[in-house]
């Protein structure tokens, strides 16, 4: 992870660590904090705790997002502190805001290498006033006015997954979010996996491959790399930590202590897990195997 971040994540980059609740690569976010990257444009549908931590750690210049809360709990307080009672940019954080559909459409345009994506949306809302990059186009076939959002082409996208082979052919299951589109839209892709497998394993179930090796810059093997997010079939979401973040993130001193202990104070994910020896037993997934399918002909 250290090498991948050092090589592929640069100051000033647009960085996407995707994953909708599921498979959010906290390990990569923590490594970016440890390497003290600065002036990043962080883009994600749901900034979640990971971008709240990266904002608190001073990595972010700008946030591009569609829902900035702590899912099922409340607020992201580092994010709120940067914006509340402050004029644009005064808190050190610029924002560019869409809805989920808008962000998904931005990645779809980026992945297809189109300049924009049309969607039937935003009529009657104040979002296009708040964000002038939400515009409209007249359909050349029907004359209908459609909303448009610009392509998002990140410098680097980081995707966590259950497994990949050494060439980066990456398989995931469970909630898939917008990882495929974000990866194809990106100049560089880092894949972080729970398990490295042989190419034979990938070839035995090709429909499960979401990201092909040809677009992958680096493969990192980092078990438990998504915690406190989760990996279906490997470990459950740490809802207790999401609840705990509500109190931690309210207080900048507590956030600093958290970062000192669990980010700066460890050198990698193995160290992070060693510092919390009870996590694995509490969160390990139960078995629910799928039925096998026949790929023969």
């Amino acid at each position: 992870m250290r090498d991948a971040v050092a090589r592929f994540v640069h100051d000033g980059d647009t960085v996407v660590i995707e994953g909708f609740t599921h498979l959010i690569c906290f390990a990569a976010g923590h490594e970016i904090i440890r390497q003290r990257r600065r002036d990043l444009t962080l883009a994600r549908l749901t900034p979640d705790l990971i971008y709240d931590q990266m904002i608190a750690a001073g990595c972010a210049r700008k946030l591009v997002f569609s829902w900035a809360g702590n899912p099922g709990v409340g607020s992201l307080h580092a994010f709120r502190r940067a914006l509340e009672g402050k004029s644009a940019g005064e808190g050190g954080l610029e924002i560019e805001e869409y809805s989920h559909f808008g962000m998904v459409a931005r990645f779809s345009a980026g992945a297809a290498r189109l300049p924009f994506w049309p969607l039937r949306n935003y009529m009657g809302t104040d979002l296009p006033t708040a964000n002038p990059r939400i515009r409209s186009v007249t359909c050349p076939y029907t004359g209908e006015a459609l909303a448009t959002v610009p392509a998002l082409n990140p410098g680097v996208t980081i995707v966590h997954a259950q497994r990949a082979d050494a060439a980066g052919n990456t398989q995931m299951w469970g909630l898939l979010g917008v990882q495929k589109e974000a990866a194809f839209a990106s100049a560089r892709v880092i894949v972080v996996v729970e398990e490295l497998v042989e190419e034979d394993v990938i070839r035995s179930d090709p429909n499960r491959t979401v990201i092909p090796g040809m677009i992958v810059s680096a493969v990192v093997v980092e078990p438990w790399g998504a915690h406190p997010s989760y990996a279906q079939g490997y470990y459950d979401r740490d809802n207790e930590f999401y609840v705990a973040w509500e109190d931690i993130s309210r207080d900048p001193d507590q956030v600093a202590r958290y970062l000192d202990e669990f980010v700066y104070g460890v050198s990698d994910r193995a160290g992070y897990m060693k510092a919390q020896p009870h996590l694995a037993a509490r969160l390990k997934a139960k078995e629910r195997l799928s039925q096998r399918v026949n790929y023969g002909f």
């Binding site: 509340e84 644009a88 809805s99 989920h100 559909f101 998904v104 459409a105 039937r120 469970g174």
Partner: protein, 246 residues
């Protein structure tokens, strides 16, 4: 509120489920009168059948045993924009006279007093779901005459109706609160008092609303939760009182 919201759902309908009370309402409906309700979560779980109460809309229990899991581009393009969603649930920090919802900022956008999470999928659900149900507790600050910011469009936006603006869905048809139910007036789009809970007067409802609340000529009375509904909510669906705090 969960029981009242559940009764709004008809068996076999396709519902876009939000987290919190709507999630409870949908699972209560499935356990009672609407076993064939199809739950779709914006995270990509279609036909979910969660064996525990999901804390977030991305809970792994939504995947286990669901009918389909798809990416979010498919959720918004192939299900929502395609017109497949019959009911959408929405909530918000502010709801106004025409059912416009604010989940973005209190105060000005440029210099917010309170920064809320933002739209998520709410803006597009409000545009596309064939009808939406709003669930929120009454309080005059939460129900102002006009919201500070329109995140999700209601029945009238400025001087325009939904149809004039080209929105496919019917928008918010009901607001289910903790004291009564408001309904959109078909002619004006204004939210008017349609029914109140037992032991609550129309004036009690008015006290929680920041505009002069019109009333239907004949006000309905909301049936209190049945023993079965209460037992399911308290013992089966949310025994740890994650959402049943109020």
């Amino acid at each position: 509120m969960a029981a009242v919201a559940a009764r709004e759902l008809r068996d076999g309908e396709v519902v876009f489920v939000g987290i919190g009370l709507p999630n409870l309402a949908c699972n209560l409906a499935r356990a009672t009168h609407a076993p064939n309700l199809v739950l779709i979560y914006e995270s990509g779980a279609v036909g979910a059948s969660p064996s525990r109460l999901p804390v977030s809309i991305g809970d792994p229990a939504l995947v286990t045993g669901s009918l389909m899991v798809c990416g979010m581009a498919d959720v918004f393009q192939l299900f929502l924009q395609n017109g497949r969603i019959e009911v959408g649930f929405l909530g918000g920090a502010q709801i106004d006279r025409y059912g416009n919802i604010n989940t973005t900022v209190i105060g000005s956008y440029e210099r917010p007093v309170v920064r809320l999470p933002g739209s998520g999928g709410a803006a597009e659900i409000a545009v596309h779901a064939r009808r939406t149900l709003i669930v929120a507790k009454l309080n005059p600050r939460a129900f102002p005459e006009r919201v500070d910011f329109v995140t999700s469009p209601g029945q009238r936006c400025g001087d325009h109706s939904r149809r004039e603006l080209g929105m496919p869905g019917a928008g918010p048809v009901k607001v289910i609160t903790d004291k009564g139910v408001l309904e959109a007036d078909p002619a004006t789009g204004e939210m008017v008092l349609a029914a109140h809970y037992p032991g609550v007067t129309a004036d009690d409802v008015q006290a929680g609303v920041g505009w002069p609340l019109a009333r239907r000529e004949r006000l309905g009375s909301v049936m209190p939760p049945t023993e079965t509904e209460l037992r399911l909510l308290r013992e089966v669906l949310d025994p740890r009182k994650v959402y049943l705090k109020g």
